[in-house]
């Protein structure tokens, strides 16, 4: 079943320096339960594509559907949870209250909230931190809390925009492992924007390689790695071959500059 479907998608921003082609002729299908990574240099349109899916940007032309609906309808039906690069937790709310934020806005029953908060805190391994304030948590923990916030309501689609980009390598490895486990447990569809080749290869079932000016897709790589992925899978020849292909794709996108 297709969750996200894009055909001939174009998006041009009008700026003072003339038009910027953020997305050019982008076509892509993302199926239910996929873990799709978008990788490419700055300005390749990976974040813009995610924002189009979330109806935070409107494409200039082409068709884009989310769960068979237009992105705006999908947003209104609360089809997805969005995780930003910065955790963006409200400093005046405890972790628990931050996770309750979408539930309050969407009008969930009060009696339902406590159970949901507990469930998602367990999913991201933050039990016992419900009554802490964000500043009492490390950067990695804050980002996990923001993932929990996106999981608190029943969206089957998780859009993640470089969620681990600001974290150090060790924390990042740990969170990648946790994210895979979480994906396995929840069966959600995940679209994940990243700068990091190992991260993209380690996490994904499908890797979308993009390049800038104009922002476009240069390669779509289906990963044949098993779903069960210990961290040391990154030393295997299969993993390295995939990483090599991603790197080639990125290089090709840059060749005629």
């Amino acid at each position: 079943m297709t969750v996200i479907s894009a055909q001939n998608l174009n998006l041009t921003f009008q700026t003072n320096d003339g038009p910027v082609h953020a997305l050019s002729d982008v076509g892509l299908e993302i199926g239910k339960g996929d873990f799709v990574s978008f990788i490419g240099p700055s300005g390749c349109g990976k974040t813009t594509f995610l924002r189009c899916v979330a109806a935070l940007e409107t494409p200039t032309s082409g068709t884009l559907t989310v769960n068979g609906l237009s992105p705006d309808e999908a947003r209104k039906s609360r089809a997805y949870g969005y995780v930003f690069q910065h955790a963006g937790l409200y400093p005046w709310r405890t972790i628990g209250a931050n996770i309750r934020l979408p539930l309050e806005i969407m009008g969930y029953a009060k009696s339902d909230m406590a159970g949901r908060v507990e469930k998602v805190l367990k999913l991201v391994d933050l039990e016992g931190f419900e009554n802490k304030y964000p500043w009492q948590l490390s950067g990695g923990m804050q980002q996990r809390a923001s993932i929990a916030r996106a999981l608190a309501f029943d969206a089957d689609l998780l859009l993640m925009d470089e969620p681990f980009g600001a974290l150090d390598e060790i924390v990042r490895d740990h969170l990648n492992e946790q994210l895979l486990k979480l994906w396995d447990q929840t069966g959600k569809t995940i679209a994940f924007v990243t700068h990091s080749i190992p991260e993209a290869v380690y996490l994904s079932t499908k890797i979308v390689v993009m390049s800038p000016r104009p922002g476009r897709i240069t390669d779509v790589i289906e990963s044949d790695l098993p779903r069960e992925r210990p961290l040391d899978i990154r030393e295997t020849p299969e993993f390295l071959a995939l990483a090599h292909r991603v790197r080639e794709g990125l290089r090709a996108g840059h060749s005629y500059e």
Partner: protein, 310 residues
Amino acid sequence: MRSIFPVISVLLVIVGLWWVAVAPMNVRPALDMAERSGAEVIPEGPVARRDVSVWRLMLDNSDYVAVGYALDRPRLPTPTQVGQELWKTTGAMVMKGRAWSKRSLIYHGWITLQSTLWGFLLGTSLGIIGAVAIVYSRTAQLSLLPWAIISQTIPIVAIAPMIIVLSSQVGVEGRGLPKAIISAYLCYFPVLVGMVKGLKAPETSQLDLLKTYDATGVQSFLKLRLPASLPFLFTSLKVGIAAALVGTIVGELPTGAISGLGARILIGDQFGTPLAIWSALFTAAVLAGLLVTLIDLIQRLSLRRMGGQA
């Protein structure tokens, strides 16, 4: 409590400088008085002394410099004189059970405080409403903000009498309301500017997040913009309440008011009683200090409830 020591040290330095300054400031009236009571002063006669510097006078007549510290109508009263006058018009009045007498600064302070609080309430409400309008409507931003800035370039002393005259024309009795309006005029501006900044404080990604939840405008105002603006609000409230007090006192100055600290300052000036001016001034300063401290306290309590680190 540790922060009290720097404050006390600065206060001591100021009082010390003040005390030293009394000598040159009062040397002329002191010598005039000494001369009248038969002392020999160099040079003789106030007219001759007019062209001599105060330093020369102090050097030549060092015996009589001390007279300047006990004048009835000093150019610059000593800290002790001001302290005594303050006590006479506040604490001593309370002890005699006459706190609400027209000679008591507690009475005048209360009159000023009332107008200040009404003006503060009015100004703060206007400031907050204006800020919300500016943040949510581009038209309001383009039309309101320039006028708000222009309003602060007009000297308040010029506007105050007009407000008094106009409000009596429309049948407003007493000076309470016009004084509150003048006070609000000064106090709304810092609140407006602070709240505009505060309501715009949330980052784009925080607003985007609410959009992904399909939050309504009211929801994003109540759950994001308003709480994010509170630290800014409290900072402006502290500036605002001090401005409101200044506004009230200015409103009492040129308008022939007979009660209130501003009126005391004016009367002290007209009747040549500097002690009355100085004690009214100090009462106003203490009042301002108390009001700002009170808001600071409310700020600490509410920000702590909102998970503040401090």
